[in-house]
Structure formats: C-alpha cells, structure tokens
C-alpha cells in the first residue's frame, strides 16, 4: 500500500513539472487567447494553476490590495491592485475566494504598462479577495477580507 501511494505521489509531481515546463516553453504566452479553462475552475488554487501554472505563491507586502473592509452592495465592490513597487510585473489575477468561479479577472502586461489594475467585482457574501501577482517569473499574493452587508445596516 505504501509503495502504491508513493508511486502515485511521484506521478502527480512529474505531471505538474511537465505542465510547468509546457507553460514556460509556450511561445508568446504573454498575450495568449482567452483562457477559457481558467474561468471554469472552482477553487483559487485551481485557478492559479490554470493561469500561472502553479498554485504556490509567496505572501508579499509589496502588493497593495485596496478593497473595502465593508461593502454595502456586493454587486459592485471596487478592488485595486497596486504592484508598482515590484519590478517586472508580468500579470495580475484577482480572485474572489467563495464565488462559484473564484477567478474574476486577469491582467497581462508588457513593456509600457505598470503593475496596476483596478476593477469592480461581484461577491455574494463576506469573503476574501485574493490578488496574485507574477513578477520576474515568481508568484506573489496578498488577500483582504470584504464584509458584504446587503441590508446596509452593518453587522
């Protein structure tokens, strides 16, 4: 039994490695076509893997995620990701953790654009907004909780 588990783990690891190298080798990955598959993923980790090829991101204080602590209207929640303090920002993805499809939007940049994106997103309930930034080939993330009070009375 133990040997079997071990083999399975080995297989899974090598599959991930192949996926990562495929991602790196893909030419012109910066401006590829609409990532349909990523927008069908059900969790933040799956979404990150689909967008960036990996779900491992380091927490970073250099990403400034601006989202309201309390949102009166969950249908319009302004979110701003400012990673201009980081060098070589390639892309930004914004996830709303408990949405049916957590991946809300992705932004890819090339020379001439800074690591900054603002958008308004929908969220059904109190939850985390996660910003993932890819800079210099590495992944960084930060998150912020937004309380949604649709009644508008707080609480």
């Amino acid at each position: 039994m133990k040997r079997r588990t071990f083999l399975k783990a080995g297989l899974a690891t090598s599959a991930t490695a192949v996926a990562v190298s495929a991602g790196i080798l893909a030419p012109n990955a910066v401006f590829a076509a609409y990532n349909e598959a990523a927008f069908k993923t059900k969790t933040v980790d799956e979404g990150m893997s689909a967008v960036f090829g990996s779900a491992a991101a380091a927490d970073s204080a250099d990403i400034k995620l601006k989202a309201p602590a309390i949102a009166e209207n969950g249908a319009v929640v302004p979110v701003e990701v400012d990673a201009t303090a980081m060098k070589g920002v390639e892309s930004i993805a914004i996830f709303v953790a408990k949405n049916a499809v957590p991946l809300a939007c992705t932004y890819k940049f090339s020379a001439g654009a800074l690591g900054f994106a603002a958008v308004r997103v929908k969220m059904g309930e109190t939850q985390d907004v996660v910003a993932v930034v890819k800079a210099g080939g590495k992944l960084f993330k930060t998150k912020s909780e937004v309380k949604v009070t649709i009644g508008g009375c707080g609480g």
Partner: protein
Amino acid sequence: MADISFRLKAENKGDAYEIKALFKHPMESGVRKNKATGEVYPADFINEITAKLNGTPVMVAEWSGAVSQNPFLAFKVTGKAGDKLEVSCTSNKGDSGTSTADLA
C-alpha cells in the same frame, strides 16, 4: 453583433498615465435566474480587453462574469504626450467596441 460603447480617459499622473475606462454593459454571468420564471439569463459579459499604445499591445485583460455591471477598468502605462492609446473589448457573444485617447 452589437457595439459596446465605453468612455476612455488618460490622466497624467507625473511618472505614468492612468488609463480609466467605463463600459456600458450588463455583464450577465450566466448564473443569475429570473426569480418569477426560473429561467437563467444567458451569459453576456465582456471577456477580453486589449490596450495598445502606438499600435503595440501593452495590456490584455481577461474577465469573467464576476466583474460588475457597467464595468470600470483602470491601469497605468508609461508613455509621453502625443502617444496614441487604443482600447478594444470583445464579449463572449462576439460584440465588440473600440475607443481611442491621446496621452496629454
């Protein structure tokens, strides 16, 4: 195929230009139901936005239906006065729109 209309503004922030776009679009996620009939409103959302500076793509955004109705988008570019910015968007239904602004 309908046109998507939106306003585009480039603001000089000193070290960079902040580009703001305000789209007019329902951003229907394809999940919401009509409460009276139980029918699902079909998905209709802007899913791809491309920004070009003097013809060179600088930013591509991909959106899902989780972006709010009448969406707002902001990003920053480095450029100089007189540079031409062109932003175009397409929806999952194939609707599209384009708008241009000059950096000042």
